[in-house]
Point group: C2
Chain length 360, copies 2
C-alpha cells in the first residue's frame, strides 16, 4: 500500500532554504516558488510526498524544471501554472498518465516546481531527483549517466508558446535543441523532461532528496531561531566539510547562450586570513581554487553560504562585501563512476583537471 505524507507549509518554508543550499549557487532562487506555494496553500491546495519505493515498475513519473538563465527568473516571475501545463502537454503528447511528479534537480527553485505542478494536477510529489543538487545542462543527470532515453521533452511559456522535442540522437542534442527553444522564449521555459517509469526512477534517480532538503532547511531555520551557528547545524544533518571563510572581493558575471557564467574572488578571514579563493560558475559553482590550487570541484557540492544566516548565496545575486562560508557536501554516488565523471566532472565544464573529492 502506498503511503503518502502530507507536505506542510512549514516543510515548504524549510525546503526553500535547504534546496537553495543544495543548489550550489544555481537552480534559481526558490523564493518566487515559495510565494506561489504560500498562495496555493492559502487557497486550500495541498501536496503530498510519495517515496520512489512505492512506485510500481510500470508507473510513469514526470520530471520537471524551469530551464534557462537564473538571472532571467528575476524579471519573468515564477507562475505555478506554466509548469503544470508542461506536464499536461506531455500527457497530451504521449497519452501517458503520470502517477507522480518529481524534480529534475533538487537544487534551487526547481525543487519547488514539482510541488506547484502537483498542486494544480492533484498528483503526489516523488521524493527523488536526478542530480541531488543543481546542474546547468540536460545531460548532467543520473538518467543521462544511465543512458536512458533523453526524449521527449516539452517546453511551455507564459504567453502560450508550447513545443515538444520529440526525438534526438543524444543527450547533447537534447541540450542543444531545447536550449535554442528556451533562448527564443526569452531564456526561460517551463519544461517536462522525458517520462520515466517507476522502474527507472527506482534504479537511476537519487532518492529522498526532497526530505533531505527539508531537513537541511529545517536545521538552518531552527539554528536561526535559537541564535546558534547555522553552518554547524547543516553539518549536524549532512556529512559536509567547511572549506573556507571569507569576504567577496570581486564578481565577474555574464548571461550568455542561455547560461549565467563568471567567477567570484574571496579574501579569507579567521583561519583563512591571507588566503584567496576563486570560484568559477556556469549557473552553479563548478571549481574552487585556493591560492591558485584546485580545492574543490564538481561533482562535489560547493555551497557558498551567508556566514551569519547560513542561507545560500546564488551566482546571480552574490555581490561585493558579503561574508561567506564555503562548504562542500558529498555528491550522489552515481556521479563518482567514470561514466558519471564524464557527464559532470571538471572536464565536462572544460576545466582540464582530474577530479579529486574533498571527501577522498
Amino acid at each position: 500500500m502506498t503511503e503518502l505524507r502530507d507536505i506542510t507549509l512549514d516543510d515548504i518554508e524549510s525546503l526553500a532554504v535547504g534546496a537553495w543550499i543544495l543548489g550550489t549557487g544555481g537552480g534559481g532562487s526558490p523564493y518566487l516558488g515559495l510565494l506561489n506555494m504560500r498562495r496555493l496553500y492559502a487557497e486550500g491546495f495541498r501536496v503530498q510526498l510519495m517515496q520512489p519505493g512505492d512506485l510500481a515498475d510500470d508507473d510513469w513519473v514526470a520530471a520537471v524544471s524551469n530551464m534557462g538563465a537564473p538571472l532571467v527568473g528575476q524579471e519573468r516571475l515564477t507562475d505555478s501554472r506554466t509548469i503544470a501545463r508542461a506536464v499536461s502537454l506531455m500527457e497530451d503528447h504521449t497519452g501517458i498518465r503520470f502517477r507522480g511528479i518529481m524534480a529534475l534537480e533538487i537544487g534551487g527553485g526547481n525543487s519547488i516546481q514539482p510541488l506547484m505542478a502537483a498542486a494544480h494536477l492533484g498528483r503526489p510529489v516523488i521524493d527523488a531527483d536526478m542530480m541531488g543538487r543543481a546542474y546547468p545542462e540536460a545531460q548532467m543527470t543520473s538518467v543521462a549517466v544511465g543512458d536512458l532515453k533523453p526524449y521527449p521533452l516539452s517546453t511551455v511559456d507564459c504567453r502560450g508558446l508550447e513545443a515538444v522535442v520529440q526525438t534526438v540522437p543524444t543527450w547533447k542534442w537534447m541540450e542543444r535543441v531545447s536550449r535554442k527553444i528556451c533562448v527564443e522564449y526569452g531564456s526561460i521555459a517551463s519544461t517536462c523532461k522525458a517520462p520515466r517509469t517507476g522502474a527507472e526512477v527506482k534504479q537511476w534517480c537519487i532518492p529522498r532528496t526532497t526530505t533531505k532538503a527539508i531537513a537541511i532547511g529545517s536545521a538552518v531555520r531552527e539554528a536561526q531561531r535559537r541564535h546558534e551557528d547555522p553552518i554547524e547545524a547543516i553539518l549536524s544533518v549532512e556529512p559536509g566539510k567547511v572549506l573556507y571563510r571569507g569576504k567577496v572581493m570581486d564578481v565577474e558575471r555574464r548571461a550568455t547562450e542561455g547560461f549565467l557564467r563568471g567567477r567570484t574572488r574571496f579574501d579569507g578571514v579567521d583561519g583563512w586570513k591571507g588566503s584567496q579563493l576563486e570560484v568559477a560558475f556556469q549557473n552553479e559553482w563548478i571549481v574552487a581554487w585556493q591560492d591558485g590550487e584546485p580545492l574543490a570541484m564538481s561533482p562535489d557540492l560547493i555551497c557558498v553560504l551567508d556566514t551569519v544566516t547560513g542561507e545560500a548565496i546564488g551566482t546571480e545575486t552574490i555581490r561585493y562585501g558579503q561574508r561567506v562560508t564555503v562548504i562542500a557536501l558529498p555528491t550522489a554516488e552515481v556521479f563518482l563512476t567514470p561514466k558519471g565523471l564524464q557527464h559532470v566532472g571538471p572536464r565536462a565544464f572544460n576545466y582540464d583537471i582530474d577530479f579529486k573529492s574533498v571527501f577522498a
Copy 2:
C-alpha cells in the same frame, strides 16, 4: 467519386523546370528532389495527383516543405525519407490520418517535397499550395492571410532530430520558434505544417498550382527541343510580362538568421541598353528597381530567367556575367487584399513602398 491522375516521370521533369520559375529565385533548386524522384520511379514507386475539389470537408491534408536557407541545400542533400518522416511524425503526434499531401509552396524544390512524401506513404498529392510561388517566412501564406490556426508544426532532420511546435499565439511566433529549431539543425529542416481540413484547403489554398508548374515547365522544355524562344513559350501559357533583359554585373549575398539575403545588379541589353536594374532578395526576389524607381515587387512574381534556356536562376546560384530575362507573373488574388498585402506586400519585407502591380 475521386479521380486520381497518374503523375508521370516526364511530368516531374517538367514540374522541376516550371516550379523553379515559380520559385521567384527561392524555394531551393528542384534538381536534387528530381534526382530523388527519378530513383523512386526507377524503384517502382508511383505518385498520383488529386484535385482539391475532390476532398471531403473533413479530410485532413498535410502541407510540407523543407525550411531553411537555400544555400545549405547544396551541402546537405535532399533525402526523400525526411519529408515523409515529418508527415508521419505529425500523424503520430495528432492521431490524424492524412488523405493527401500538398506543397506549402509550389516554388522551387518545395514543389517536389510532397511527391517524395507521397511516394513513401502511398497517398496522393493534392494539386494546390499556399503561396502560388515561394516565400521566405511562415506567415506568408494564404492560410495565414485567412487567420487559420498556425500550429502544430513538425520538424525533422536526417540525423534523427525531431521536434514539434505545439502551440503559438501568432503566425510570427511560429516563424520565430520554428526558425530557431531549423537554424540549430544546421539551417535546414524537413517540416510538416499545421494540418488543414479539406474545407480549409478548398476555401483558402491556391488550386491547380502543381498542374500550372507542370504546364510552364513543359512549355519551356518543348521550346528547348524545338530551338524556339522559351520565354515566349512561358508567356503563351501564363499571362506574364517581360520586364527587362540584361547581364548580371554584381551579386551581394549573405546567409543570415536562417535566410539568404542580398542584392543583384544588372546592365540592360536590347531595348533596355543603358538602363540598370537592381533586385533585392530574401531567399526570393522581392523588389526590383529600374534606374532607381520601383518597377516590380512582391506579391507579383519576379522571375529571373536564363535568356537562352528559359530556366530559372536562383538567388543562391546567380553569378556575374549571366544573360537574363526578367519577367513578372501575376500573384494569387488572396495576396492582393489589404490583409494579403500586410503579409507579403513590400512593407512585410521592410521596404517603405506602396504596392503597385505591374498588371494594374
